[in-house]
Symmetry: C2
Subunit: 203 residues, 2 copies
DNA sequence: TCCTTTTCGACTGTCGGTCGGTTTTTATTG
DNA sequence: CAATAAAAACCGACCGACAGTCGAAAAGGA
């Protein structure tokens, strides 16, 4: 019962690295089992299919980020600081920049989409709790917070996902839209600029 | 020189029907050539790859919708009517409902994504021109219209794309967000409700 | 006739997934 | 502490489906 768990984790780790570096579609099961030094049968003893393995790899990735985001929520910070922190916590680390890059390659659409969906389900409740604090403090003024948070995330993931460059106008309009969606005073969400600019600068 | 063009169109038509009914990923080149009664080599005489064929099929689909949308723009209608008309014109026809259905199946992510991108590039300028009329009439009050229109389209395509059911709250918030993004008075965009409800009712 | 366009279909390589059987571990007894 | 039965882990040859290739053969026009 112990050995199986370890092996499975090992396989997930190997696959994770390969999916990130070469892309999900471009990584064959044969390559995974060769890297792991196991036979085809063993692979399918642990995973029902390649796609089901992808789900588990994604789950593993998101576990870490969820933990970080919740830690930020619990910390003693202002509402804007929390929002910045939560969003930053789900951004790929410096050394994991390749993940992000890989995800935007067309051959990884499926993986990208799955991660996106699960990341949203994970992060919407957390960000919503921060936003609710914002409403209590009078920073924001709106109802249906989770729905609004989700919309903001949809917009940002589409606008700032790297594969189409965004103009300053897009950033301005996005900040304006964010403030209005949440019922905040103009300028309140200006801190978004720092979040959105950062990845672009590296390039 | 004539025969080739005709054959190519015929193949695109056949593929279009099959992609729509069975999905792009689930339609094999072998099935297409069997339906067309041609050999493998002939297929690859006309198309460099299956994916390149998909591009052409999509192009064919969008030509029709672009024409309809521009006709609405030229028509003598009020700004809200034009917006409704343009959006309606890119919505799948009654008898083509299966397209929409097919597009949302996970196996058609690639096709869905490609259509989405190209549809946006096509429809954003057209809708923007309608919105500019709206600004001139005092109905809307904002700058950077194309960017704002694009954001609204991003939101609607994500929220109302069928695979996740939307609550009344989502519709309310979307309408509210739309009005605020365009700087319209509350209630101005209430007509969206009809557009968004319709597909759901049929089901 | 000669040249171009169009058509053919056998073939290739890769891939995800299956299957029957073998080895290793673990739990259970005498 | 063996002996053994049952369960867990592992193996790799094999399969069918698939996108794409290629050299050669018709068809058509000048």
């Amino acid at each position: 019962m112990k050995k199986g768990e370890r092996r499975k984790r090992e396989l997930l780790q190997i696959a994770y690295r390969m999916f990130v570096s070469k892309g999900y579609e471009n990584t064959s099961v044969d390559e995974i089992i060769e890297a792991a030094g196991i036979a085809k049968g063993t692979y399918y003893y642990y995973f029902q299919s390649k796609e089901q393995m992808l789900e588990e790899v994604i789950g593993m990735m998101l576990e870490v980020e969820a933990e970080k985001a919740e830690a930020v929520l619990r910390a003693d910070l202002s509402v804007p600081e929390k929002i910045v922190g939560i969003i930053a916590s789900i951004q790929p680390e410096q050394q994991e920049r390749t993940i992000d890059e890989a995800l935007h390659r067309p051959e990884n659409l499926l993986m990208h989409d799955k991660i996106r969906g699960r990341l949203f389900d994970l992060i919407v409740p957390i960000l919503s709790r921060a936003a609710e604090d914002g409403v209590r403090e009078g920073l924001f003024d709106c109802d249906h917070i989770p729905e609004r948070i989700r919309m903001i995330l949809i917009l940002s993931s589409d606008l700032f996902d790297g594969h189409n460059p965004y103009t300053p106008a897009v950033i301005d309009v996005f900040i304006d839209a964010t403030e209005k969606i949440l019922g905040a005073r103009p300028g309140t969400m200006g801190f978004i600029r720092a979040l959105v600019r950062a990845p672009q600068d590296v390039q």
